[in-house]
Subunit: 355 residues, 2 copies
């Protein structure tokens, strides 16, 4: 098994969101765990998962009834919308590309800029974002959901009669469903677990190359997005580009968005981004925070140049892409949810859809 020392992993290239001491133990390529970490204040139950799935697919959480969580994070495919940037209510396009919801439960910072620490915090954002789901305030989201008997009953059962439908509980249910969205048993995982035939020679060559080239100095851990067990609030970030001035930077507008700086207003966070996962990366084109790069081959070249100042041969790119393809996991079969209906009356009215 290829080993990678944590010291090199955290050498100048990768930055934690604040000073963090980690003992310098060695670690290796790691398989994806079967289960995601669960916060103490939001335990998982099958009923909460089922409720969260319904909410995840419910467009009535958007102002005009057109956008659900699944619209941009399509769990029926890659967990993204495979668009350069996402479309919200009233045909508005956002400024960033939707990250995949698959395995997001292993990330220690949510959103490209890490502005939410947990899945629960993340779920509260898009509903109120004026260009995403466009709800004017959380009270309207709560009012909509509690007016639907099928939801009110489930919230009472899952969260207790007293808490019932609250904005926090809506987010808790959605986050709980998202913790089930894990894609185990990729070729890479089966290889790591001993099936040496699971990885093609090309992919094995790529596996060595991503380490030798330096890619794994950031893309490490079981989710290839850094440690999965950092304390809440600690994200795993990286400047992008590290080496400015390349033609890629101009061609793909890589520096136009200041990234995490918009959250912290700290100069050292300019163009700093959460390290994204490599899991299922073959399926989540187009690439980068602005979705500017259409193919994985090109994304690999861009990263080598902008982050490591290296120019890869076509052969190396092919091998690395073969390795990245081995990270496509198995998507668990799910039942199509039934979204609770309101009887005899409509919830989204003409005044909600007129601008």
């Amino acid at each position: 098994m290829t080993k990678l020392s944590l010291k090199s992993a955290l050498s100048p290239l990768c930055v934690l969101s604040s000073a963090l001491l980690i003992s310098a133990q060695a670690y290796a390529f790691e398989a994806l765990p079967d289960k995601a970490p669960v916060p103490k204040d939001n335990p998982m139950t099958p009923e909460k998962v089922a409720l969260g799935q319904q909410l995840f697919f419910d467009p009535r959480l958007s102002a005009d009834g057109t956008v659900s969580c699944n619209t941009c994070h399509n769990v029926m495919s890659s967990g993204t919308d495979n668009r350069p940037v996402s479309a919200g209510v009233a045909g508005q396009n956002g400024g960033r590309s939707a990250p995949t919801v698959w395995n997001a439960a292993f990330l220690t910072a949510q959103f490209w800029d890490g502005r939410a620490a947990t899945l629960e915090d993340q779920a509260k954002g898009p509903i109120l974002n004026p260009i995403e789901m466009g709800m004017p305030h959380k009270e309207l989201a709560v009012k909509r959901i509690e007016s639907i008997p099928g939801y009110a009953e489930q919230f009472a059962k899952v969260f207790g009669e007293k808490s019932g439908v609250t904005y926090d509980n809506i987010a808790k249910a959605i986050a709980t469903y998202e913790r089930t969205l894990i894609t185990p048993n990729s070729s890479f995982d089966r290889y790591l677990k001993g099936n040496k035939k699971a990885l093609s020679k090309e992919a094995q060559a790529g596996m060595k190359l991503v380490e030798a080239t330096g890619c794994t100095s950031c893309h490490n851990g079981p989710n290839f997005a850094g440690p999965i067990d950092l304390p809440v609030g600690q994200g795993f970030y990286q400047k992008f580009p590290v080496y400015p001035g390349s033609s890629y930077e101009t061609k793909y507008n890589l520096s136009n968005d200041s990234g995490r700086f918009q959250v912290t207003k700290d100069e050292k966070d300019k163009n700093v981004w959460r390290v994204p996962t490599w899991r299922n990366i073959a399926l989540t084109a187009p690439y980068f925070h602005n979705g500017s790069v259409e193919t994985l081959d090109e994304a690999v070249r861009v990263m080598a140049k902008t982050q490591l100042n290296k120019e890869l041969s076509d052969g190396d790119v092919t091998s690395i892409v073969a390795f990245l393809n081995s990270l496509t996991g198995e998507f668990p079969q799910q039942t199509l949810p039934r979204i609770p209906d309101l009887s005899n009356s409509s919830l989204v009215t003409m005044s909600d859809i007129k601008k």
Copy 2:
């Protein structure tokens, strides 16, 4: 079992799309069949259903990758979007309310104005409609689908190597999936089949009232939308309003849209519409072709006045609504489809989403 003579059913109020002779046999309230009629040139297979389901949920059939069939005909709930009118690509609102896809397989005319005779013909419309899915031409839809290996393989298997991915076959697969969308075992159906406790007294009173009032002169047959076995091309239509000049007509803009006239350009088709189903009507608010009426109670009052020149008491409305609620069926559990992914590359590019 309450009987309704076909002669009264087809008395002046209801019109077929052209002269059609039906023998004057008596018929009665009818349960929903378990299976829909299947055209000879598009036989059902499990593989075709599965393919059709994937296509039904695939937003890449829209120009900018945001709108799938399911966006407006949400099978996770009522088979509609529960919006007054539907939203297509780029936040455009259409002019009519999405009819439910559940039990649409029993309709002999598709779209509110009957401009498609079959589910196959219907499926070809929205993809190319500039304010719905907005594909510039069918060749692009075909090109997109055939570029995705997971689709190309299935089309070859389902339709044979030679036909493969064609626009007709895309529509055939979608229509085949839609033929599985049937909601049996409503309280009403169980009552008809002998369980006399399945209908409340209120609903039973409503059942008598819809016949006595005259509603069933159009809303008859197992789908409450007229005969389900008319020859292809024969729809079951009705003028709306039959009695013009009511305050409802003004309040809800009932006559602004000329309906079937837009298809036939025949004066006698002005404000003529396909008779819509009553199945699951409790869940498909808001009501009418323009989605102008928010509640089922009001919809019942409007219909009695505009179609039969009757003013119902509040008690009668309550009974009729109770009966209509008994027409909510069971929605069969389905597996969440996996939509075939394209590897290492994106399909919807920045040029597709920029206007």
